[in-house]
């Protein structure tokens, strides 16, 4: 079990390292020297930078030195908590991102819970009542979930709510709480706004998981031990939930490690459609405006937090599924 945790941890660290390289590449790839464009940007806004200041900045960022030195300087500063300066906002990146990163994670986590909460019972139901009307309806919904990209679904719901209900369904907060400091009322307001985007985000993952769960459980239900259990007089409910469902959960569970990154990914794009205050809109704007440190920092933070989230879900899985624990010994 320890070996398993250590292996996961090493793999996670390796992933983080790879993501940091990619984030650095995103910062470096746009043509031109960051300090030059920073100065040009300031000059356009009427401010000026003295030659000394410019040189100090160049030294800080390691300009003109080999690329690995620049990477080293950058990563050391990032680990120390300095994510750099946002060119567009003229404020430290950490300040610009603020709450948004946590709201992104909250949205993704909520979507994860919705996915689990829906896929498990629906998958079981569809398998136990195979070819029933409800099974066909769920299959149909499942196919819609797979075929409609979540940003399109968000667009369609946004339009339908506006057209037929006269509602504006975007955002995570009501107008009066959007800029207010955190209070209980704000949290309540958030919990009122969160379910819709979480459900939109969760739909395609749920659809896939329902299909996996249904197929796995159908395989299990045909096995002789189910007949034995029934023959011994176990109640139908117990027969199904006690053994076949638990056995069918295994591939279901191993998919979750890939579900979380998928949801974080999706949250970016639906946030833009629904106008949610997550890092999504910030990232796209930063990338279009070539605000490199902000863009790179968001990619890095999302990547690292996803790895941590996946690692935690692995630990939870190990705690839940004894087979995983024993397999590794």
């Amino acid at each position: 079990m320890i070996t398993f945790i250590v292996r996961r941890l090493l793999l996670g660290l390796f992933t983080v390292w790879l993501i940091s390289m990619l984030a650095f590449a995103i910062i470096q790839l746009p043509p031109g020297d960051f300090v030059d464009s920073y100065i040009a940007n300031l000059a356009a806004g009427g401010a000026s930078v003295s030659a000394d200041e410019a040189n100090a900045m160049r030294k800080l960022y390691g300009m003109g030195q080999p690329i690995y030195v620049q990477y080293g300087k950058w990563i050391v500063r990032v680990v120390a908590g300095d994510l750099g300066e946002s060119m567009e906002w003229r404020r430290p990146v950490a300040e610009v991102i603020g709450d948004r990163i946590w709201l992104t994670l909250l949205l993704s986590f909520a979507a994860l819970l919705v996915t689990w909460g829906l896929a498990l019972p629906i998958g079981i139901f569809s398998a136990v009542r195979q070819y029933s009307v409800a099974d066909y309806i769920f299959t149909l919904i499942g196919f819609i979930g797979i075929a409609v990209p979540n940003f399109l679904l968000a667009l369609i719901i946004l339009y339908a709510a506006f057209r037929y209900l006269g509602l504006s369904v975007g955002g995570l907060f009501s107008a009066e709480y959007a800029l207010a400091p955190w209070t209980w009322d704000k949290v309540k307001d958030l919990s009122w706004h969160l379910p819709l985007p979480a459900m939109i985000l969760a739909l395609s993952g749920t659809a896939q998981l329902i299909r996996i769960m249904r197929a796995n459980l159908l395989d299990e239900l045909r096995k002789p031990y189910v007949v034995t259990a029934r023959a011994k007089g176990l109640s139908e409910m117990r027969t199904i939930l006690k053994y076949p469902v638990r056995a069918a959960l295994n591939p279901f569970a191993s998919n979750i490690a890939y579900l979380f990154p998928y949801l974080v990914s999706g949250s970016i794009i639906i946030s833009i459609v629904l106008g949610l205050p997550t890092v999504g809109p910030l990232l796209v704007r930063a990338l279009i405006a070539q605000d490199v440190y902000l863009g790179g920092a968001i990619v890095l933070l999302l990547g690292v937090l996803t790895v941590i989230g996946t690692f935690i879900s692995d630990l939870v899985l190990m705690w839940v599924d004894p087979r995983l624990r024993h397999q590794m010994d």
Binding site: I19, A23, A257, V299
Partner: protein, 374 residues
Amino acid sequence: MFSFFRRQPKLSQAERYAQATQFQLTWWRFRRHRVAMVSGVIVALFYLVAVGADFLATTDPHATDARTSYIAPQPIRLFEDDGSFQPYVSGLKGVRDPKTFKLIYTVDPSRHVPIQFFGHGYSYSFLGLDTDVHLFSLKTPERGDGIFILGTDQLGRDVWSRLIVATRVSLTIGLVGVTISLFLGVLLGGVSAFYGGMVDTVIQRVIEVIRSMPTIPLWLGLAAALPNDWSVTQVYFSITVIISLLAWTDLARVVRGKFLALREEEFVMAAELAGASSGRIIFRHMLPSFLSHIIAAVSLALPAMIISETSLSFLGLGLRPPAISWGILLQDAQSIQSLALAPWLLAAAVPVILVILAFNFLGDGLRDAADPYG
């Protein structure tokens, strides 16, 4: 001599089954899957549209005209007022806005502009041939007239023509991307399974790492780094490469899994004992067995590619105008303000959903048919 005329003995069902090649068996089983057959036809039709896009378009998809901004979809009427068959659309007329004194164009139902088949329109080149023949076009258009089946966008461009031309870009980007992913997937998956050991471990870990990264932020970051002055073609290929760099992992897993399973089969051992080289075993004996699985995996990977391109372009970081793709068309429908004003801009959602659905059913059918002995 008499035997020359004798008909082939009629084979029983079982005999036909025993004599059939693997391809035939797969085809028979696939044919039984109705939904997959229909989906296959739909996919084929979409690619036909992609090939003949310019022929089906009615107006130059790039031509802007401020006067035809946000015209609602115009139906084509088939019969003239006197009952004779003559398809026509209504013309446009300019009206001065009483408040702003701006000239705005509205539909004038009293003026009929007849439609002709195989008439002349904007010129394009088809398979190296320069032509200007279109399936249907207006006979005597005045300035601003057009066939606006799906309305026009803010710049007065015809949504139908743009949608048709976008089909070409969106569908081929999927094909090119899948080809790259397939190459990487088969190569790395095959190498991983063939050599095993350390190589296998490394490749498997790399796949795990790639799969555990959130893809959209990475795509966005890399796509944003493409230089602004690149041509449409350069951006097209770079976006394809960026998407496929993260998308090959599923194919590699399928190839590796199948490869490992087949390696244990008796017929492979028989070939080995008969002294076949490993190249011959792989290409002559093993490849035909998992080719159908690869085809199924590809048809499931294609819709994912199409979604990726659409998402990237939708966010403004994929293909860039003047390129036209479904994602770029949907970008116009991004805000609720423009949707409220011109809901027909959402039209591009229909082919996206249809194609993804069709590819998914097709892939499912192929996957079921891929193992005809099972």
